[in-house]
């Protein structure tokens, strides 16, 4: 099925919004959407949510003979798939331009930057090496697949453990995880892609474009960097005219974003590690039963901000009245081994362009933040919510919607 084309008025609306430095989902120009990283029960499985974009990465390994040209190096293989499940525009079994682009960019970002020590994957030189295969599946497409895929891939690789082997002469014994603890891959650095969308011949720039914005953009610049401020790959596409200064500026923005995201990945990895060590519940096993499909998108409900003070007071009073009941800020219970960032409007990545409006928001956010930080008395100590103001009231674009939908709270008894 071909993608339904965007209507002219939608296109104009989006472009106009970009010109006025506004975005349909209320973000600032340089804001990312919420990133949530969840790990599976098995090693090397990771789901990344970037707003509504959702990507699953799974790492697997097998022993194969090495390439003739590199007899002492293990093989890294990336495969990204766009299933029709993610978007009706994707067709199965066809090498679309997008697919080629994403696959190559992923390879370029992770393989060519040598982020993984491939020589340590050699078992017997010239005969057996580990082939690490990273399968990336797009589960839901809401723009910026590249960034989400790169986060998912590197997080999955960092999470992955390969079985230990013993060599006796020419015999190779592969130990099961029960016999000997599997060993992690040696990762030198974590390259992460940051996408910049350009509009109006490069006049306007947005970070992390959503699907709508991607459709009206002129071109894209993807910069992959690690937290050491090293650029691992740059790729422009889409027939735009850039100037050198723009590329340099983007690389500066990218370095800020990358350090934030790297921190988030590390935090998520730590949480997962701790959960596993303590023998608690971890992985999807924990998160799945609570992720009710009906409740999944509730936290996105736009709420008018006019009488936010009243609402906040009401909530506070309720919270104080029932201190014994654990309140979770979102119907989606983030599982252990989960990191979350940037929930809501809060611009945690303050960049050079601080606006007055933003400060206002901060004040309001502080109000509503205070009372939802209520996770501590739960037995799941390791839940990390960097900005737990998930259902902080959001301003509607037009402000036409009357009536207040109170932030939904859910009781959870443990």
């Amino acid at each position: 099925m071909k993608d339904t084309p965007l209507s002219n008025c939608e296109r104009q609306f989006l472009l106009k919004a970009v010109e006025e430095k506004k975005r349909v989902d209320g973000r600032q120009t340089y804001d990312y959407r919420n990133i949530k990283i969840t790990f599976g029960t098995e090693y090397g499985c990771c789901i990344v949510d970037l707003g509504k974009t959702r990507i699953l990465a799974q790492v697997s390994c097998e022993l194969v003979p090495p390439k003739d040209s590199r007899p002492t190096e293990g093989i890294l293989f990336f495969n990204l798939e766009l299933s029709p499940m993610a978007s009706p525009a994707f067709e199965l079994g066809r090498q679309s331009e997008l697919l080629v682009k994403l696959n190559r960019q992923l390879e370029r970002c992770l393989r060519n930057s040598k982020c993984i020590d491939t020589e340590s994957l050699c078992v017997i030189s010239g005969e057996k090496v580990w082939q690490i295969r990273v399968d990336v599946h797009v589960l839901n497409h809401d723009g910026n697949l590249m960034d989400a895929a790169s986060i998912a891939a590197i997080a999955a690789l960092s999470h992955f453990r390969r079985p230990e082997v013993a060599i006796q002469g020419r015999d190779i014994t592969v130990f099961t995880p029960e016999e000997r603890d599997p060993i992690p891959l040696s990762i030198y650095h974590m390259p992460i892609c940051v996408s910049f969308a350009f509009f109006q011949q490069g006049t306007y720039l947005l970070v992390d474009p959503c699907e709508r914005e991607e459709r009206v953009m002129d071109g894209l610049l993807v910069i992959a960097m690690n937290k050491h401020r090293e650029i691992c790959s740059i790729q422009s596409s889409g027939g735009i005219m850039l100037l050198k200064e723009q590329v340099l500026r983007c690389s500066k923005i990218a370095s800020v974003k990358v350090s934030e995201i790297t921190e988030l990945i590390n935090k998520a990895l730590d949480n997962d590690k701790r959960a596993r060590k303590e023998g608690g519940k971890f992985g999807f096993a924990e998160s799945m039963p609570k992720e009710r499909i009906t409740a999944l998108k509730k936290d996105e409900a736009p709420v008018e901000m006019t009488d936010v003070q009243d609402t906040a007071n009401e909530i506070i009073s309720r919270t104080e009245a029932q201190p014994d009941i654990v309140k979770v800020p979102s119907p989606v219970v983030p599982a252990p081994g989960t990191g979350q960032v940037g929930e809501g409007l809060l611009n945690t990545w303050g960049l050079e362009e601080e606006e007055d409006e933003e400060e206002e928001q901060h004040e309001k956010e502080e109000m509503s933040t205070g009372e939802v930080m209520v996770l501590s008395d739960s037995e799941e100590d390791d839940v990390v919510i960097l900005n737990p103001d998930a259902n902080k009231p959001k301003r509607l674009e037009g402000g036409s919607k009357k009536g207040v939908e109170a932030p939904k709270k859910q009781k959870t008894s443990h």
Binding site: K2, Q95, E97, V100, K101, N103, R104, R108, N112, S113, K114, H189, G219, L221, M225, N226, H228, R229, E230, I231, C232, S233, I234, Q235, S236, S237, G238, G239, I240, M241, L242, L243, K244, V247, L248, S251, K252, S255
Partner: protein, 245 residues
């Protein structure tokens, strides 16, 4: 790259060039009579052939027709004998598809496609011998072919690669320098306006060096543009002399 010194203490590279020196460029326009435009280019040992057909009616799937501009269709292929190891498929693998895509995007930026609504411009490029800088050789050859075909462009598109070794940017990498796994930046530039039509970089480079590397690549592109300019003017004069009556 283990063991091989890409830049000697005296400041010379593997093939005896200075850091900012380009390889010898030779080019010819109008090599085929059948095509609307064609060109052949040699950049050192990298040899490329480009052929342009069009603008013409959209063939194949009609659905690609655009009512406000021309569709650019690119196909990149490498001759099976172009590399040391014989290639099995001349085109169609991931790298070639990506290269076709990049060429397409490069020329969508430079060609005034809005002048030819509902039509199609085909650009076919073939690498006859590969010795590094395939993308740039293809872009330069295709530019000449487009000029030969009389297709309006904003400016020449010149492409060149640049590498980075020991804090020194190297212009126009050859295969040995490219395969070492060091930083490689490919840049397609419109030299007059200094607009970048495509930028692509591989392997690690510290952010602070990016400016220097891009400037080196841009400088190399401008050098190349002078060579291409000479080729086009020479061709123009030759043909004009013949059609003097």
């Amino acid at each position: 790259m283990a063991g091989v010194e890409l830049l000697s203490d005296q400041g010379y590279r593997l093939d005896g060039r200075k850091a900012s020196e380009l390889r010898k460029v030779q080019a010819r326009m109008g090599v085929f009579a059948q095509a609307d435009g064609s060109a052949y280019i040699e950049q050192g040992n990298t040899k490329a052939l480009a052929v342009v057909y069009g603008p013409h009616e959209v063939r194949g799937s009609r659905s690609r027709t655009m009512h406000d501009r021309a569709v650019i269709n690119c196909q990149y292929s490498m001759a099976t004998f172009s590399t040391a190891e014989r290639k099995r498929r001349p085109h169609g693998d991931r790298k070639s598809s990506e290269m076709s895509l990049h060429l397409k995007q490069t020329f969508e930026a430079a060609v005034l496609t809005q002048l030819y609504p509902r039509s199609q411009i085909d650009i076919y490029v073939k690498i006859l011998q590969s010795d590094g800088g395939n993308y740039s050789a293809c872009v330069n050859a295709a530019t000449l072919a487009l000029v030969d075909a009389g297709i309006p462009m904003r400016d020449y598109v010149c492409a060149c690669t640049a590498g980075f070794v020991e804090d020194t940017p190297l212009a126009d990498l050859c295969h040995a320098e490219e395969s070492g796994g060091g930083t490689t930046l490919a840049l397609a530039l419109l030299p007059r306006s200094r607009h970048i039509a495509l930028v692509q970089m591989d392997a690690r480079l510290h952010q602070d060096h990016l400016d220097m590397l891009m400037e080196a690549a841009a400088e190399a592109c401008r050098g190349l543009s002078k060579v291409l300019d000479g080729v086009v003017r020479q061709h123009l004069q030759e043909v004009s002399v013949l059609t003097r009556d």
